[in-house]
Symmetry: C2
Subunit: 487 residues, 2 copies
C-alpha cells in the first residue's frame, strides 16, 4: 500500500460511529459520550438501526443513510459483522476506519481468519484501518476523544503510539496528573492494516508533534522500523518503551496482542542505531516526554549541581557518574563569584552546597551564576519547592501564650518560604530561556506540585534526583545522536 | 569504649537545651519549638544566661543551675564554647549530648582539632556524643522531636540512621507524604564519638524497631560494620543507601561530611555478606521501608500477576524476569477455577489478564484464587485504585438534556468504581493476612492515595509496577539470606 496521509484520521470533519448503544456502561455508549463531551468540532453520526436517537442525537440505520460525506468510521459492533461493514464504508467512500471491536487475531486462528477478511475488504475499497482490537484514537487539535476510557488528556506536543491500549491510555491519564500534555494518541491494536511504522512516520511529519512516545511489543520482521525511525529521529525524539524484553514478558505479549516479541538484543541494537531512546520503566517514558517537550537539549554532558544539603549532592553526583554524565570541578573565577554569596567555609566544589542558612537564602544568585557558567551544559537544582509536609503546624499544641505565638510566627515564615520557593521557580523558568540549558528542579512534592511547576513557571521538575538524572542522560544521548548525524 | 545502651538518648526523662535563642528563625529557637510542639512528655530545661524565659519557659543560666537530673543535653551554641560545655555536662552527670553545632571536622583541620578536643573531654566524663554537625534525633515512642526541621514524622516501626542530616530529614518528610511511619531517627553528623555501627547495633536490639534504614557515606576501616550488621540482619532487615559510590559522588562526600568514601566494590561485597539490602535510589529506600514494615516476606521468588490490561502485564513480567523473579505458568487446576469467572477467550496464563469487561468485575474472585494458589509466593495486583483523573467530568459540556443526563450517570458510575476499588483494597488487606504472602497493589494515583491504601486498608501499593517489583526483589533477597542462615 502507499504511504498514507493520516491527516483525516486524526482531524476528520465528520465521523460515523457504528454500533452506538443507548445503554450506559457499554463501550458503544461510552465512546460516543467521550466524543460529545470532548467538544469535538466536527459532526458525529451515530449509526444504529434499532434506535431513533441516542443521547439526543439522531441515529442513522446504516452508514449509507448518512446524508453527508464521512471522513472516519468508528466500529464498536460484534466482530462477525465487521467485514460487511467494511463494504458499507467502502460504498460510502470513507477513507479511515478505527475498529475498536476485539475478538480477532488476538484470540486465535478463527479470529485471525476474520481479521484477514476485514483487511482484505478494506484494501479492496482503499480504506485504511486502525486495529482491530484498538482502544481508539485521540487528537488534541481537533478535540477528538474517540477512545475507550473517558479521558480528557492535557493539550501538548507529545504524540504517542501504543501497541497496548490499556498501557497507552493509562499513560495519558498519568500525563494529566503530572502535567504532560498530548497532541495525538493511537492505540494500534492488532495492526491488521496500519502499523506502528505508519504512525511513527505520520507523527514524524506532523507539525503539532514535538516528541514521539512509542510502546512496542512486536514488530513484523519486514517492517522498515529502523530506516523510518532514523529519518524521524533527525527531526524529533522518539522515546521507546519495549514490552516483551524477557522470556516472561515475551510469553505474556504473545498471549495478549498475539505479537511475536522480538529478540531483545536485536531490538536494542535497532533502537540505538535509529537514534531512538529506549526506556525500561513506565515512569521514565513520561518523565522523558515532559523534559523533551519543554526544555532545550544540553550541548554536552557536563552537569552543575546546586543543593541545600550535602547528602543530596552526593547521591546526585553518584547518579550522574553512573549515567555517563560529568560533574566537573568549578573554575577559579566561578568560585570567586560564588564566594560573594556563600559563607567562608563553603565547599568550593560541584555540587555547590549552599550549607544550611536560614536568615538569608543565596539560592537564586548562586543558581544564576552556575547556570550562566560555560563550564556546564545542564543544571540540577536540588531542594526547590521541597517544603516539608508538617508545615504548617495544624495539630493542637498546649502551652504558654509565648509558645503559641511562636508557632503562629513560624507558620507565617512558612508562607514566606512558599513565596521564596515560587521566586526561585520563576527564576529557573527565565534562566532556561536565557541560558538555553536545561535546568531541572528536584524537590519533595506531590505530583500536583510538579504539574504546577511546569504550568505556572515552565519548569520541569521531579521529586527525586535519580529521575532528573535519567532524563538528562537521555537528552544528552539524543544530542549526541544529532551531532553525529550533522557532522 | 563500652557498647553503649542508647535507651536514654532516645527516651530521656529530661533535656537540657543549651544555646536556646529568643529569636525566631535561629536553630536554637526552632529546635526548642519543635520539641515543645511535638508534645515531648519529659521536661525541657532551656539554658541561656542572657534570658529570663523563652517561649514562656524559664531559662537557666547554666547547666549546673538546673535543679533536676538531666538525661540528655542538646548543644546549639557556637563551636568554640562546646569543649567547655562538655565539662559542664560532665559535672552535671549528663550521659548523652547531641551536638547540633557545626564548624568542626567537616570544615578543615582547625575544626578537626576542636572536634578531637570535644570528644576527649566527653570521654573523660563518660559522656557519649552524637555529632557534632548533627541535625538532631527523633523518637516516636517518647515524642521527642529534637531535630532541625519542624517535622512531625508519622509513627511507625522504621528507624533510620543517616550520615547526611539533610537527606535523612527529607526522607522522614517524604515518609509522611507516602505513609511510611518512623520510630527513631538519628543524624549521626561527623561521628566524632558515636558512629553508624553504634546506632545500627542499638536499632538491632530495639524492640520498637522492625526495619532499619541507613544512609552511609563513609565508614572507618576499623569499624566492625559487617560483623554487627550480619548479626542484626538475622533479626531484622537493614536497608542501606550508600552515597559516594562513584568518583564524582566520593569527591562530594569528602567535601561534605569529610568522610572518606569507601571503594564501592568492597562496600558492595560487605553489604551482601552481611545480609544488608543495598538500594541505589532515594525512592527505593522508602519503598522498601514501607513493604518490609507492613508485609510478610515471600517464601520464594514465584510471582503471580493479575492485570486489567495486557500491556501492564507484559512490562511487569519483563521487570520480574530482569530482577530474578519467576512468573510461573498456571496449573491446570487453577486455570479451571479461573475459567468460572473469566470469558472463554482469556489467556489462561500468568499474568492473569482479566480482559476489559465493564458490566461485571471478576477482579476480587480471581485475585483471591491466585493469591491462595501454592504455586506463587507473592502477588502483584495491577490496576487497583487506578482511576483516571478526568473522572468525574467537571468541565462544561453543552448539548441536549439526554447527553447531560448520561454524563451525570457516568459520574455516578465513577462513585461506584471508587467503592469497587475500595472493596478490592479491603480484600487485599485481608488476603495478605490469610495467605501470609505479600500482595502489592499497583495503581495510578497520587502519593496521598497510596498513603490511604496503607492506613485504611493495610495495603502496600505503588504507582508503578517497576517500584513494586524492586521491592519484591529485595524481600526475596532477604528471605534467601534468612533461609541460608537458618540451614
Amino acid at each position: 500500500m502507499d504511504q498514507p496521509d493520516l491527516g483525516k484520521l486524526f482531524n476528520p470533519a465528520s465521523i460515523a460511529m457504528i454500533g452506538v448503544s443507548a445503554e450506559g456502561g457499554k463501550w458503544g455508549h461510552i465512546i460516543l459520550l467521550n466524543i460529545l463531551k470532548g467538544n469535538y468540532q466536527g459532526t458525529v453520526y451515530p449509526v444504529n438501526p434499532r434506535e431513533e436517537a441516542i443521547l439526543g442525537y439522531k441515529c442513522y440505520p446504516t452508514v449509507r443513510a448518512i446524508p453527508d460525506k464521512v471522513d472516519l468510521a468508528l466500529i464498536v459492533t460484534p466482530a462477525q459483522v465487521v467485514p460487511s461493514l467494511m463494504d458499507e464504508c467502502g460504498a460510502k467512500g470513507i477513507p479511515f476506519v478505527v475498529v475498536i471491536t476485539s475478538d480477532f487475531s488476538e484470540t486465535g486462528s478463527e479470529g485471525a481468519e476474520l481479521e484477514r477478511e476485514v483487511v482484505a475488504r478494506a484494501r479492496k475499497h482503499g480504506i485504511r484501518v486502525v486495529g482491530p482490537n484498538s482502544m481508539g484514537i485521540f487528537c488534541s487539535t481537533s478535540n477528538l476523544h474517540a477512545q475507550m476510557p473517558p479521558l480528557m488528556p492535557l493539550q501538548g506536543s507529545v504524540s504517542m503510539l501504543s501497541q497496548s491500549g490499556n498501557l497507552g491510555v493509562q499513560i495519558l491519564g498519568w500525563g494529566e496528573q503530572q502535567g504532560v500534555g498530548f497532541e495525538k494518541f493511537v492505540s494500534s491494536g492488532n495492526e491488521g492494516d496500519l502499523n506502528c511504522v505508519d504512525f511513527l512516520r505520520y507523527f514524524g511529519q506532523d507539525e503539532d508533534t514535538r516528541v514521539i512516545l512509542a510502546y512496542l511489543e512486536g514488530i513484523d520482521p519486514g517492517t522498515p522500523l529502523v530506516e523510518e525511525a532514523q529519518a524521524i529521529s533527525r527531526k524529533k525524539p522518539i522515546i521507546v518503551f519495549k514490552g516483551g524484553r524477557t522470556a516472561a514478558g515475551g510469553r505474556a505479549a504473545a498471549s495478549h496482542s498475539g505479537a511475536l516479541a522480538g529478540a531483545d538484543r536485536i531490538f536494542k541494537g535497532a533502537v540505538e542505531q535509529a537514534g531512538m531512546l529506549g526506556v525500561t520503566t513506565s515512569q521514565a517514558l513520561l518523565d522523558c516526554a515532559k523534559a523533551f517537550a519543554n526544555y532545550p537539549l544540553p550541548k554536552g554532558n557536563r552537569v552543575g549541581i546546586i543543593t541545600r544539603g550535602g547528602g543530596w549532592g552526593v547521591i546526585t553526583a553518584d547518579c550522574c557518574d553512573e549515567n555517563g554524565l560529568v560533574v566537573p570541578p568549578l573554575s577559579a573565577a566561578l568560585i570567586q563569584r560564588l564566594d560573594e554569596f556563600l559563607p567562608p567555609y563553603w565547599s568550593r566544589g560541584n555540587p555547590v552546597d549552599l550549607v544550611a542558612t536560614i536568615a538569608y537564602d543565596p539560592y537564586p544568585e548562586c543558581l544564576e551564576i552556575l547556570a550562566d557558567w560555560e563550564g556546564v551544559d545542564a543544571v540540577l537544582a536540588l531542594g526547590v519547592g521541597s517544603l516539608l509536609p508538617s508545615y504548617p503546624f495544624s495539630h493542637e499544641v498546649k502551652g504558654p501564650p509565648q509558645l503559641l505565638e511562636a508557632i503562629h510566627r513560624a507558620s507565617q515564615d512558612f508562607e514566606r518560604q512558599i513565596q521564596n520557593s515560587d521566586n526561585i521557580l520563576h527564576g529557573i523558568g527565565r534562566l532556561v530561556k536565557r541560558a538555553g540549558k536545561p535546568i531541572i528542579a528536584v524537590g519533595l512534592g506531590s505530583e500536583a506540585s510538579h504539574k504546577t511547576n511546569l504550568e505556572e513557571f515552565q519548569v520541569v521538575s521531579f521529586p527525586t534526583p535519580e529521575r532528573a538524572v535519567h532524563v538528562l542522560r537521555q537528552m544528552y544521548k539524543y544530542r549526541r545522536f544529532l551531532d553525529l548525524r550533522a557532522s
